[in-house]
Amino acid sequence: MTSIILLSVFGIVNLFVGFLKSKKILLPLALLFLIVVFGVNLLGWNNTQTYFNNMLTIDNYAVAFTGIMVLTTLLILPFSQSYIDAEDENLAEYYSLLLFSLVGAIMMVAYENLIMLFIGIEILSIAMYVLAGSNKRSLRSNEAALKYFLMGSFFTGVLLFGIVLIYGATGTFDITEIGAANVMADGTMNTMFTMGLLLLVIGISFKIAAAPFHFWTPDVYEGTPTFFTTFMATVVKTAGVAAFYKLMNAAFEGSFTSWFPTVIAITVLTLVVGNIGAVIQPSVKRMLAYSSISHAGYLLMTLVAFNDLSENAIFFYSLSYAVASVMSFGVLKLVEDAREGNQSFAAFNGLGKTNPLLAFVMTVSMFSLAGIPLTAGFFGKLFVFSAVIATGNLTWLVVLAVILAAVGIYYYIKVVIAMYMQPAGENTKVPVSGFAALVLIICTILTILFGIAPGLVSNML
């Protein structure tokens, strides 16, 4: 709770600081804010508190995911260097929007009430609509914003309709009470409830970019300035999945059979679309967008497994994915800034020669995303697969995921090939700010650390 308040306040403070001439102070200040929030958030560990008439609960689940999201934001911010350098960018506003959207994200992992879920999603989404279109003169950015906005608000409607139907069936928005309500006995209510449940599932699936509600993802990710895409791929996705899991776990555990077929279908479709779609993308960014769809699929597998291993699996996977995404999008941002916006694989040619550090970081992140050992991504996948296999009857899903993971390696390794095995050609050294380099190194260390000693964080929940 404190972190929500702090973030809101800091957001506003930030806007005021934005009036200052120099933008130099903004980044350190924002980082400082986030560090404070991160610390404050940790105080909530093992200290469950509820707020607003039981509408928010800050429990370990919330603290853990808030931790991931705040940490990720912390790690993302240093890549805003190009905005600091540019005169005409409204950096303070961007930072504030990020901080505000983080508030929404925290609400999404701490909600106890569907109202809060809705509010959280909207706070997060509306901020993202703006940020997606932040490059006002770029038609691509415009288009991304419009697509995101139109589809997003459309699915807000769907989500809301679902919530309302659930409310109609159970008479409450409180997820614990929904979980306790026995609606299955009543025929009419049952239909309403199931309908609501499915619409809710669809609404959230859209937010986490699960197929077949993924169509916005590649386009929006591509059009959005990379700095914000990073945020979308990490914080938004983490919040969405955490919210999804919490919702299903608290409210719909009893109606498992009515949503399971839908969710498993969505999961399979997401895995297939994400992995297959990424294969021939000529642009790294678009490839990463598809890859983010596929990771939504892996994350959804925990939901399909739906057992006591799921929570930790989601947590570890989200963490490893978020860190790896920061690295990959971070490097992408640096590279595209240096290559006049070129996001293709060719832009990475010879990076191993010109920027060994960036190339190494990118390699580690690609391996982590691909789930190859020595990186956190490996254990992420291992825990997810474990959770699914532990159910005993879904081995086929793991086999499918394994095959698609192999497909995944196919496109991730293409980046590595471009960096190390293609000649640099015209490509010159990419300038890297100290902050960004530091962040990349921290992320790399984290990825490898969790890849060697996953026990550090794998059993927190």
Partner: protein, 654 residues
Amino acid sequence: MQEIVMPFNNQAMALLCLLIPLLPLIGFIVNGLGNRKLAKGMVSLIGCGTVLASFLISVYLFVDFTANGSRAYTVDFYNWISVGDMQIGFSFLIDQLTLLMMLMVTGIGFLIHLYSAGYMSHDENFGKFFAFINLFMFSMLLLVMGSNYVMMFVGWEGVGLCSYLLIGFWNKNTNYNNAAKKAFVMNRIGDLGFLLGIFLIFITFGSVSYPQVFAEAARYTGGIDSTVMIAITLLLFVGAMGKSAQIPLFTWLPDAMAGPTPVSALIHAATMVTAGIYMVLRSNVLYVLAPTTMEVIAIVGIATALLAATIGLAQNDIKKVLAYSTVSQLGYMFLALGVMAFDSSIFHVLTHAFFKALLFLGAGSVIHAMSNEQDIRYMGGLRKYLPITFLTFLIGTLAIAGIPPFAGFFSKDELLAHVWEHNKLMWGLGLLTSFMTSFYMFRLVFLTFFGTFRGTEAQKSHLHESPISMTLPLIVLAILSTIGGFLGIPAVFGENMHLLQNYLAPIYGYAQVANAAAVAPLHIEHSTEWMLMGISVAVAVVAIILAYVMYVSKKQVPAAEGTKLSPIHNLIYNKYYIDELYNAIIVRPIMWLSSIFHKVFDVVIVDGVVNGVGKFVVQSSRTLRFAQSGAIGFYILIMVVSIALILFLNFFIG
């Protein structure tokens, strides 16, 4: 029944035994590493000296052995391969047979080494040559001394390797290399059979060591002609076919004449090729348990003898004639084995070693004198220029033709007598072979040494008798070829005069137990024996006269290359086109298969599937891409349809 004493605890004797193969190995290493650095004299000293030393030690062992009551013993050095209950020791077995072979190998080996010192003196790779023949001695000695089948196999493959190295000794010549490769590969075909035989022996008897295997075999309860025994003996015989150049694996031996002539004498006439006979003889207890196999051996033997003899009739290369004669004689030896005339077989091995080594060395002397000309059509009248060579060569020819009292007469005669008892048809064919042998050998002698010289003037001016190091071995071998036969004087000349038979009797101890009938001594009427002797000598003499009439009186010279020959002559001249046949039914299909495997199976099918999966993924991706049209309306439409579908499926299907 002869018990084999084991293990043997006399350290000094063990060292001596070890030294016999080890000395040539040392010679190999020294000469091999010092190929270009050592002086030629030094090389010959080391090369010949080590073999001589081995020979002397062998003699000592022999003397010691007979002095100590002729008791066989094994010498264990160390446990070579040990896996579970399989223990393969690095150990030697010393018994009558081993000693005989050792003496023969080292003795003749030494003579040929000595000969080589002269014959090869102009070769730039003199040291390498000595290294290789020393290595051969080492391998051959392991072969005969080993006390288990795996040790025999070690030597077996070792001599194959040396054969390869020596046939292709002049490795700039591709044809020679091909001949070497052919020899090695054909030997390996046989080796596979041998190896499988060893496996079956191990599985059947639980050991590969001779003492255990033989003792087990003597106690064998499966009866005569059991499937396992036939399988074992046939598999071993496949090995023998390869090494001893029997049908169908004989074609490498004539090609092997590509090697330097001493090699042909040593390896491809006197020692290595008789390894097959040694092996059968060594395993006599197994073979007496499988008379069916013996019948097969006899048939293969006589067929080989006959086939090779016919080919020999039409060959014009001095070494090729000898080569086919070797194949033919080897067939003879197997024929003897097949009719269970074990003693006659080894007797023939021994006499053949003398006279065939002699003949080859003599041929070498001729070739040496003729400046590497090997075609007898361009020789003639050489007896004036090469008197010693001529004389010794003649003795060898008389021996091989079976003219008394030369060595071949005794062994061949004894052999044929056994065959007569066994099967009259085989005897008839054997006699025919004998006739042809006599004919083509004298054809060779007459064309080479009689008549007038048909070579070039340049060759004529170079004609000379060979140096002493070459003629000395010729003389020694000629003496041996003359008197060697007296080792086995047949019963008609006196009971118990057959030294060899008496000497070797103990090695059939186990066979006696296993199948006494098979190794019962031959009792043949003296009158019959006289008759057989008479016939075979008569046949040989007729052949000589025929050859004399054709090649000396009528001065016929074989048709030059390219002349049209009668169909049968053409068939024989081209060795029945067997090489071409093998090429068509084995080599070409394998080559074809190789291409098919590689180009079709590997690249198209297996890799095609693998790449196909990749292509499928890429194609799917390409297809999936079209869904991402970029139009918001289309996106929302699909998503709405999806929503509808989900709801529909949940409410109306699920």
